[in-house]
Symmetry: C2
Subunit: 260 residues, 2 copies
């Protein structure tokens, strides 16, 4: 090992004074200059959420690397991140697999979203400016346009944008980031549900109720509207799980019992 590492550079070039940030000036991270690892992460995330890589599918770091024409390093970084987010499971020295959806995580995610987004909506009702309300209405209009075309993919993106905007207006963008994390498993689940007739219209209607409450500066109504909006999913979990039994995992987690 490098046990006896002597560092003769003790008296090297004067280093930046401690507690000094990169530089006093602000640094604007350029959006286009994405790191390779970031790209690999997005690619993998996409393939997982679209179920191109279904739960249980094997993932090979070397294969992904050569497919993408990069080395294993950025691929590995992406895999590590996905593992922490619960989307892949890596077994040391053995293999990496797309994680099954833990059924217990689904109702939990719904509960977390309700709690968090209820707050963002209340805050939005408190802080929204007239222009922000118009921005929200603009997103609603976008919803309608995409629903008419029938582009469920873009509609979903627009849906996300709505929720993010509510959080931003409520000055609680951090809460949206938490929701995003929890949403990962929910989104995979949603892919397995059949498109119901009128579902898009229902979403638009519920979103509109939220905006109305925000415009009326009525936090209680806004929170209630969000709660109503986010309570839909729970019911048909069982039927979907029954249809794809090996995409899910029942996690009654023995450690939980030990802890108590």
């Amino acid at each position: 090992m490098t046990e006896t590492v002597q560092r003769p550079k003790e008296a090297r070039r004067k280093k930046r004074a401690p507690n000094t940030p990169p530089t006093a000036q602000v640094r604007f991270p350029v959006g286009g200059a994405k790191t390779l690892a970031e790209v690999q992460y997005q690619r993998l995330l996409d393939r997982i959420t679209t179920m191109e890589l279904p739960p249980g599918a094997a993932i090979s770091e070397p294969d992904l690397a050569s497919e993408a024409g990069v080395s294993r390093t950025p691929v590995r970084e992406a895999v590590q991140r996905l593992a922490r987010e619960g989307l892949v499971e890596v077994v040391p020295k053995s293999g990496t697999f797309v994680a099954r959806i833990p059924v217990s995580a689904l109702p939990e995610a719904v509960i977390a979203r309700r709690a968090l987004e209820c707050m963002t909506a209340r805050a939005a009702a408190q802080f929204a400016t007239r222009s922000q309300v118009l921005s929200l209405r603009a997103v609603l209009e976008e919803h309608s346009e995409l629903a008419e075309i029938g582009d469920r993919e873009k509609f979903h993106k627009s849906d996300e944008k709505f929720h993010e905007l509510v959080a931003t207006v409520g000055r609680l963008p951090g809460l949206w980031r938490l929701v995003q994390q929890v949403k990962l498993q929910l989104d995979r689940f949603r892919r397995l549900t059949l498109p119901e007739a009128g579902r898009l219209q229902l979403i638009i209607k519920e979103h509109t109720a939220v905006v109305d409450a925000i415009q009326a500066r009525d936090p209680d109504a806004a929170g209630a509207a969000v709660e109503k909006h986010l309570s839909g999913l729970q019911l048909h979990i069982e039927t979907v799980v029954a249809a794809h039994p090996d995409y899910f995992i029942y996690d009654a987690d023995p450690t939980d019992l030990l802890k108590i």
Copy 2:
């Protein structure tokens, strides 16, 4: 580059059938077999939360690596993870620094904790068994013991254990994981506050109120008790920020404005 990578291994050994998990058997991750990267993460996290590495401090991957006697790879993995958690900021090709505490994140964290833990307490009041209530009381007793000794460090650990146990009893362990994430910045902040007389006793009192409500199977009371417990912090933010101005960063995030 490896542009023309030919893979002649197309007809190689038969791979595991798709959608097959690591193995049918359950695999119990051995607690002791921590990966080097994990160790490095814990070490760095500790040095950051204890303010041994204060906000703004420079971090050098090679230095950390040689100090710990490992290569840069596991160190880098730890740094990446901390970056995603908002505890360090890495400027590509330039340097890595302990992140300043974003002041806006503090009230946000309090709000998120309130929303989330209110739910866990309500759920706990709904599901708690008699034995679980006794476990909660045991933790309360531990609180008292540690408060008498005056060991604030262990008291904090015990405090965490309490909140985690409430979430577990409420069958919402995922919500506690979210809270943990949000707590990272709060904990750094707490390190900067002076120990107030009677603070520990107040915490015990408030925790006791939560347990009482859970035992009484009164979700509303439990939720209210948690809300009350978690509303304390907010006030003295300004004074602490004034005392350590360069440990914080005011993030009115210009991108937020563009998004609207």
